[in-house]
């Protein structure tokens, strides 16, 4: 059942990839990983506050750092020249894509996906052993 649900969430991300502009796809992927990661932080808050050097706490921190890198990348991607009368992205305007930043954005998303995948595997193992 667990595998089926993870497959369903992954499929949802693929659907999001096919249906929306790049910035929204990445943003929604980050949002999904944010939800998962925040739940993991919540579940491990007490344990990690007591002993922050455990493997799981380290994995959560790495996933969080990867999330921030992805956010930096999407902000750089969206910081192009605004079209029409739109405000610049940095001051609240819509995303103005910088096509040359797309590869960096894709790499940062791949990094985030990879670290979250590692964390999911670690948490699954942790739950089985409890």
């Amino acid at each position: 059942m667990k595998t089926l649900l993870l497959f369903a969430v992954t499929s949802l991300c693929l659907c999001l990839t096919a249906c929306q502009p790049t910035d929204r796809t990445v943003r929604d992927a980050i949002a999904g990983e944010t939800g998962f990661l925040d739940q993991a932080v919540k579940d491990h808050q007490t344990a990690c506050a007591a002993v922050p050097t455990t493997v799981v706490c380290g994995a959560i921190n790495r996933a969080g750092e990867a999330r921030n890198v992805a956010i930096d990348a999407i902000e750089a991607y969206c910081s192009g020249i605004p079209t029409g009368n739109n405000a610049a992205f940095q001051v609240g305007g819509p995303c103005a894509p910088v096509k040359s930043a797309q590869a960096t954005l894709a790499a940062s998303l791949a990094g985030l996906t990879s670290t979250i995948k590692d964390l999911k595997a670690m948490l699954a193992t942790e739950k089985v052993s409890k």
Partner: protein, 63 residues
């Protein structure tokens, strides 16, 4: 039925399956993580990407 409706429908189905998982420590915890992920996607899907929205998702270590 547009793409956004399909995505919303997919999220609803995933949430329904996650919520229907029988109790038990392993299944229950996995379900809560799935629900947290879909709830976060629900907040953003179909909206414009904004800097404030992205900054709100930044990871701030709490330990």
């Amino acid at each position: 039925v547009n793409a956004l409706n399909l995505i919303t429908l997919a999220i609803t189905v995933i949430e329904g399956v996650a919520a229907a998982i029988p109790g038990g420590a392993i299944a229950g915890t996995i379900a809560s993580e799935i629900l947290a992920a879909t709830a976060a996607i629900r907040k953003t899907v179909g909206t414009e990407t904004t800097k404030a929205q992205l900054e709100g998702m930044r990871f701030k270590p709490s330990w």
